[in-house]
């Protein structure tokens, strides 16, 4: 009894069925071998088409200048920053799942962390497109970086927009390192399973000579833990800095102290929603139901419910504070937000982000794949509209009524936004095709048979000796 702890505690089985270690390695790497399935080819062609649309939009933007965007007076910030905040918000789920849940010993994360981290990286790459291109002259983007130059130009360190640059790039770099370090043992699996010489060499190069010795594992675990520690504050810092872009300015509707926590909650909300969306698709088409069980979907949906309530609280307290401040401009900004010309956007946001996730109080709906899929998509629509509402409604009726206007995006705005989906899915489908989308070594680690105290440990002893 004292030996058999994992049976005495009613933990959910994170991997259903009882696959052997070699079954796991075979199943997880299956999508990377053989000819790609037809749905993959179709999806890849569609993603590449969108990417080309993006390319055309970017060329047109650079050729003509940012005048082709819908931004103008008084709404000088439009789709560019909306998409930036939306994509970078999505990117928050990866670090939360991989770092924070790792430190909290939430072992269910192992089925989804690789996937979520990849999504994070690609989302941040999509986000970075907009600050790089909004200058209209991307070849002078080095102005943003503090490098010595003959113009004695130096970035303005008092500007939150500069803090953004550092926050994003730190985040991208740390996420990339974290993802890569986690990949090393799996890359070794890929190397060992590879049949062709070229893939053997490529996987081999990136596997860094991993042999799975005890010394390797000690170093690996230590590095992973340290990186998790470094990445954890980034979960909070990156979107806090994004929120400073607004909160540090003095515009009613932006100048709010609640912005940093509110943005972080929103970011995790949208990030988890996209993970759920993609995970449900991947688990259906790849048949990974044994690794991504209903328990995983259920837990993710609880996160969506919790963070959805947090953003709901933020929306409400903003109204309360606007009223309580006694400041007529602050009050106007919020009344105008909910009942002005952009009320349609506000109520799309409110319904998708606050009302819809309340369905997840019901366990049956949390565990219903179709419901979870639809809700996760609605949440991402809602979160896009959240940024739209914050940015556009605060700007479109500023201090001088003579300046008031109505922001309408142009076709370039829309194709650039759709185009980043092309960029995202091109990268994501490439990832699905060439890398194991589930952390093989970690999944093996949470199996009963990897637990020395478990009854099944001895019987599968031979399997544990396999090189992982």
């Amino acid at each position: 009894m004292s030996q058999d702890t994992s049976d005495s505690v009613a933990l959910p089985r994170l991997v259903s069925g009882n696959p052997s270690f070699s079954d796991i390695a075979r199943d997880v790497t299956a999508p990377t071998s053989g000819t790609p399935p037809s749905w993959w080819v179709i999806a890849f062609v569609a993603a590449m088409s969108l990417l080309m649309l993006y390319g055309v939009s970017v060329v047109w933007l650079v050729w003509e200048g940012v005048g082709v965007w819908g931004v103008s007076h008084p709404v000088a910030w439009g789709y560019g920053i909306i998409n930036l905040v939306w994509w970078v918000g999505i990117g928050h789920a990866g670090t939360l799942i991989s770092a924070v849940l790792f430190l909290c010993r939430q072992r269910w994360r192992t089925s989804i962390n690789r996937f979520a981290e990849a999504m994070t990286l690609f989302a941040v790459v999509c986000a970075l497109q907009f600050p790089a291109l909004h200058t209209g002259r991307p070849w002078v983007d080095y102005f943003m970086i503090p490098v010595p130059n003959q113009m004695l130009l130096w970035p303005n360190f008092r500007s939150p927009l500069l803090w953004d640059l550092f926050a994003f790039n730190t985040y991208l770099l740390v996420s990339l390192l974290f993802w890569y370090v986690g990949l090393v043992p799996d890359l070794a699996v890929m190397r060992d399973r590879a049949k062709k010489g070229i893939s053997k060499i490529l996987y081999g190069v990136f596997a860094l000579g991993w042999r799975g010795s005890a010394r390797h594992w000690i170093n690996y675990e230590r590095a992973y833990l340290i990186l998790a520690g470094i990445a954890t504050p980034l979960v909070l810092s990156v979107h806090s800095v994004v929120s400073f872009d607004f909160a540090v300015s003095q515009l009613p509707g932006w100048h709010t102290t609640i912005f940093p926590p509110y943005f972080v909650a929103g970011a995790i909300f949208s990030g988890f929603a996209l993970v759920v969306t993609l995970l449900i698709i991947a688990r259906e088409v790849y048949g990974f139901k044994q690794f991504v069980t209903l328990y995983h979907i259920d837990t993710m949906n609880k996160f969506l419910l919790a963070t959805g309530c947090m953003v709901g609280y933020a929306y409400s307290i903003e109204f309360f504070m606007a009223w309580y401040s006694g400041n007529e401009f602050e009050r106007f900004a919020f009344v105008n937000r909910a009942f002005g010309p952009y009320a349609w956007a506000y109520w799309i946001m409110f319904c998708c982000n606050v009302f819809v996730p309340q369905l997840f109080w019901i366990k049956k709906l949390r565990r219903n794949i179709a419901v979870a899929f639809v809700i996760s998509i609605l949440i991402n629509i809602g979160m896009w509209f959240e940024r739209f509402v914050i940015i556009v409604t605060s700007l479109h009726r500023d201090f001088l009524p003579a300046n008031w206007g109505y922001y309408i995006p142009t076709w370039v705005d829309i194709t650039m936004y759709l185009g980043t989906f092309g960029l995202f899915f091109t990268m994501f489908l490439t990832f699905l095709r060439f890398l194991p989308m589930i952390a093989i070594s970690e999944i093996m680690g949470i199996m009963d048979k990897a637990n020395p105290h478990h009854a099944s440990y001895k019987t599968d002893e031979n399997a544990t000796k396999q090189n992982v």
Binding site: V147, N149, Q150, M151, L152, R191, K200, I201
Partner: protein, 240 residues
């Protein structure tokens, strides 16, 4: 084994190499691609062998005799042939070079001088403003009186402009000496300081036989204070 043993050493070399190349790239652009390296010393061949060393140096003709709009307008005029002919109608008329000037004059065709000191189109520069503030010609153009053929002596980069805009005192001088190629001309030059630049008390102190010489910064500082010179560092001062 897929890879030979030496591959182990490649990874650290690549990582260090990447880090080094990033730094090297910044250095290459900062040093070799700078106007200091690329533009200083630009000395195009001119259509006529005109010597500034002879005219401005040996003969001591004031800059403003030929470049007569420099203290009145944004642009410092390149003299028309007529200005040359003021003297060369009678001076050195047999020289081959002067015959070219003569040809330009009689055919009514301007001499195609090549511009040496070019600023980018997005930078607005006003000569008269700088002259009236007390920035001498030689501060930016160097010792023109020693150049047989004119070359660019200073980088004329944005950083170079800003250095003076941030700390102008060392480059200011009294109006009397604005076209002097060497400033201070001599120790005694400080005793004939203009009242425009110096307060009456300063002049009195000097004439009372005060021996100490003022440094360039001190002279410039007084000029800056008296003329209320406070160079702009706003983007829009030059990029309008």
């Amino acid at each position: 084994m897929i890879f030979p043993k030496w591959v182990d050493k490649v990874t650290p070399v690549l990582v260090m190499g990447a880090a080094f190349s990033m730094i090297a790239l910044v250095f290459v652009f900062w040093y070799w691609f700078s106007p200091k390296n690329l533009n200083v010393g630009y000395q195009p061949e001119q259509p006529i062998n005109y010597s500034h060393k002879l005219h401005a140096g040996a003969l001591g003709i004031d800059c403003r005799y030929c470049h007569f709009t420099v203290d009145k307008a944004a642009h410092a005029a390149v003299p028309p042939t007529q200005v040359c002919m003021n003297c060369h109608e009678i001076v050195q008329t047999n020289s081959d070079e002067i015959k070219l000037v003569e040809a330009s004059y009689s055919n009514n065709e301007p001499i195609q001088w090549v511009k040496v000191h070019t600023l980018p189109e997005h930078a607005y520069f006003n000569h008269s403003r700088h002259i009236s503030a007390g920035v001498g010609c030689s501060e930016c153009h160097g010792r023109i009186d020693q150049m047989e053929v004119v070359f660019q002596a200073e980088p004329l980069s944005m950083g170079w402009c800003l250095e003076c805009h941030r700390n102008p005192n060392a480059n200011l001088r009294p109006q009397e000496f604005i076209t002097e190629m060497q400033w201070p001309v001599a120790e005694s030059s400080f005793s004939v300081l203009s009242e425009q630049a110096f307060s009456v008390a300063d002049v009195k102190a000097l004439s009372a036989g005060k021996k100490r010489l003022f440094s360039r910064e001190e002279v410039g500082g007084k000029i800056a204070a008296n003329l209320n010179i406070n160079p702009s560092q706003n983007c829009s001062a030059c990029h309008r």
